[in-house]
């Protein structure tokens, strides 16, 4: 029971981080119809910048600047490339982000090399205990921060003028443009927000129990893809649910590894994808995604 509870807690905390990343996917998809395959390397960029900058600037300033760099990189991608391809097929857009991803990832891996960079979190690698149930402090803080950010985001999405214009442009881009909503600005802002969310996720993803910044962070980020897809690519609430689901599934599969040994070691790493495929079999547009209605 203790194990179950602690796995559940860890799953939720991991899921909160996934949800941050997945939310970024969803915002970008809603605002600019792009499935951003650059998200993995954006996350790695965030982690790398934070790790490099926190030494000269101190942890907090370094983290803020690192997140800002990630957001700016996302903005640059949107302005320089995505914005020029408005109206292109979804697949071309996805492929162009893969191109960006290749460049960014190659550069980052080259810089990181075989090192594992350390991010000096002030809360260290200690763990927090409620009775017998333990969770690393890093993950606990991550859950709280992610919760606050997600709540803020949903509030902004619902009440702020940016949120309204974004929902309008996702609903019907042309009409929104006719109403005076600047689609370019909405999309740019969406990328900035998504980049910043990825940066924050990176900040916590490289803390304990993960060893530090290494190229494997990239594959961790890719597991947020299933989270976004599972919930439905155009549903912000779905990203949250999907993130939590994936986080818990992964945590349980890793925790009960010994019982699942017949499926091979490291099964936890692939569980997100298996869950995703199972859900897609039943609901092709995810749990909360808009079903595409086609009238003939």
């Amino acid at each position: 029971m203790t194990q179950f509870l602690s796995l559940l807690l860890n799953g939720i905390s991991l899921g909160a981080i996934y949800a941050l990343i997945a939310l970024g996917f969803v915002i970008i998809f809603k605002a600019s119809e792009v499935v951003s395959f650059t998200h993995g390397s954006l996350l790695l960029l965030g982690a790398y910048s934070i790790a490099r900058l926190s030494e000269p600037l101190g942890f907090f300033l370094g983290a803020v600047v690192g997140v800002a760099i990630t957001a700016l990189a996302a903005l640059a991608i949107e302005r320089l490339i995505i914005n020029r391809l408005r109206g292109a097929p979804v697949i071309s857009l996805a492929i162009v982000t893969i191109g960006v991803d290749i460049i960014l990832l190659t550069e980052l891996i080259r810089r990181i090399g075989s090192d594992i960079l350390n991010v000096p979190h002030p809360w260290g690698g200690g763990s927090f205990r409620i009775g017998d149930v333990g969770i690393s402090q890093n993950r606990l803080i991550a859950t709280i921060v992610a919760g606050v950010l997600i709540a803020l985001f949903f509030a902004a999405f619902k009440y702020s003028s940016w949120g309204v214009s974004m929902r309008a442009s996702a609903e019907d881009g042309e009409t929104a443009a006719l109403m005076g909503i600047r689609l370019g600005r909405v999309s740019a802002l969406a990328w900035v927000v998504a980049g910043a969310l990825a940066g924050v996720a990176a900040l916590f993803l490289v803390g304990s129990p993960t060893p530090g910044v290494s190229p494997t962070v990239y594959t961790v980020a890719l597991r947020a893809f299933p989270a976004a897809i599972l919930g439905g690519l155009d549903s912000t609430g779905g990203a949250l649910v999907g993130g939590l689901l994936i986080g818990m599934a992964e945590s349980f599969a890793a925790g009960y590894q010994d019982q699942l040994l017949f499926l091979g070691r490291g099964f936890g790493d692939v569980v997100p994808y298996i869950v995703m495929i199972a859900v897609l079999l039943v609901r092709p547009s995810g749990l909360f995604g808009t079903k595409e209605l086609t009238r003939v």
Binding site: V35, R167, E171, P272, I274, I277, P284, G286
Partner: protein
């Protein structure tokens, strides 16, 4: 009388008699002649060229097969798939399992059937197709981008299986691939010793011919498929599923079938990969491989069979050539020296090339070739050729159909 008919018949403007349908070239003797010359050159190449180029050539042939298969799916039908590496893996592993011998190498206890390599190759193709067929209920129900991400999952699941199913795959270290042989003729260094015009025909030379035949067959099959009724159905599917179903195209059926064909191509490419490297290991079938295959077809031109071949040549050969000529190519250094490693330099180039192609030349290398060909034909008529290609025509036509009536969001 003669003056009115003379101008169109003159020199370079041979095909101007059908100016309205410049896209359908008239059958002239030039094209077959060029093809024959190219074929003869390809056939004679092993007599003159050293082993490195032949080995690179075989790798390229394998990539061509795979890229053509992926292009049928992504370029022609508009279904983004990142699972190509997985199907390559299925093909390669089936080959080494069916044709490999049982026995233990080091710690691993491998099992194998030890059947003739030809059966192994066929099994590789069929099993990859079967894997595609199993996945196709999902593939057929998902559209474009959802399929792209779902297929991403297959690569990781495949990696996991490759790493854990040690008795078949050899686990983390992989296992070696048996030599190919055809009715007693091995594609190895000896048995039988073979000399052609005084040149020893060893493994590289023999594999070169094998690759040439397979790639050619793959090319012809895909080209004929595209020109046939199913091919047109697939193209309609890409442009608009609604229009396709109204025209009587079985949408689900065709999507599933194109997935099957594409994964069979990938299976063959996987077998050829195993032959060209001589072994298979999980790391050879990672996500990066899928992305490189996507790079091939994007650079070559989505929807074009010849383009896929060009793209495969470019993407496969470039890193190898960089590696070999590391001291000559600027900015590239050998391992341990300053500068970029060959693989890195090539990846930068691919990434940049993908972005530039999507931004400025959506029809890829194939479109570029078509543009030059057309320019040579009627130098006066300037048309926006880049937009007449298959890849872009979809961009304009499927915007309305891509976003059918959507309900509430969030």
């Amino acid at each position: 009388m003669s003056e009115t008919t003379a101008p169109p018949a003159q020199g370079p403007a041979r095909n101007v008699d059908r100016p309205a349908v410049a896209a359908a070239p008239r059958r002239s003797w030039l094209r077959p002649l060029l093809l024959v010359v190219a074929l003869v050159v390809m056939l004679a190449l092993p007599l003159y060229v050293e082993e490195f180029w032949l080995r690179t050539g075989f790798a390229v042939f394998g990539a061509i097969v795979g890229a053509i298969g992926l292009n049928l799916l992504v370029g022609t039908t508009g279904q983004l798939s990142l699972a190509h590496a997985f199907f390559l893996a299925v093909g390669a592993i089936s080959y080494v399992f069916v044709s490999g011998e049982s026995g233990g190498i080091g710690l691993a206890d491998l099992s194998g059937l030890g059947w003739p390599p030809l059966i192994g190759m066929i099994a590789g193709v069929l099993l990859a197709g079967l894997a595609g067929l199993i996945f196709s209920p999902i593939a057929a129900r998902l559209r474009g981008i959802y399929l792209g991400v779902a297929s991403l999952g297959l690569v990781f699941i495949g990696q996991h299986v490759l790493n854990s199913w040690t008795s078949v795959t050899g686990g983390f270290n992989g296992r070696s691939a048996p030599e190919f042989s055809l009715f007693g003729f091995t594609f190895g260094n000896t048995d039988p010793d073979l000399f052609v015009l005084g040149v020893p025909f060893r493994e590289a030379e023999r594999l070169w011919y094998l690759g040439l035949v397979l790639a050619l067959a793959a090319y012809l099959f895909a080209r004929n498929l595209l020109r046939s009724r199913p091919g047109r159905a697939l193209q309609t599917l890409r442009d608009s599923e609604v229009a396709a179903s109204v025209m009587g195209v079985n949408v689900q059926g065709y999507k599933a079938r194109v997935f099957l064909v594409s994964s069979m191509y990938a299976g063959l490419a996987g077998v050829m990969y195993a032959l060209s490297i001589g072994s298979v290991a999980p790391e050879s079938f990672g996500l990066e491989v899928s992305i490189l295959y996507l790079a091939m077809i994007v650079l070559g031109g989505l929807g074009s069979v010849g383009g896929a071949a060009l793209g495969a040549l470019f993407v496969t050969a470039l890193p190898l050539i960089f590696q070999r000529y590391a001291d000559v190519v600027p900015l590239v250094g050998g391992p341990g020296e300053g500068g970029l490693a060959a693989g890195e330099a090539a990846r930068y180039l691919f990434g940049l090339a993908i972005i530039l192609v999507v931004l400025f030349q959506p029809s890829g290398l194939a479109g570029l070739a078509a543009r030059f060909r057309r320019k040579g034909r009627d130098p006066g008529g300037v048309r926006p050729t880049g937009h007449s290609s298959a890849a872009t025509s979809s961009s304009t036509s499927n915007v309305p159909s891509d976003r059918p009536a959507q309900g509430s969001t969030t």
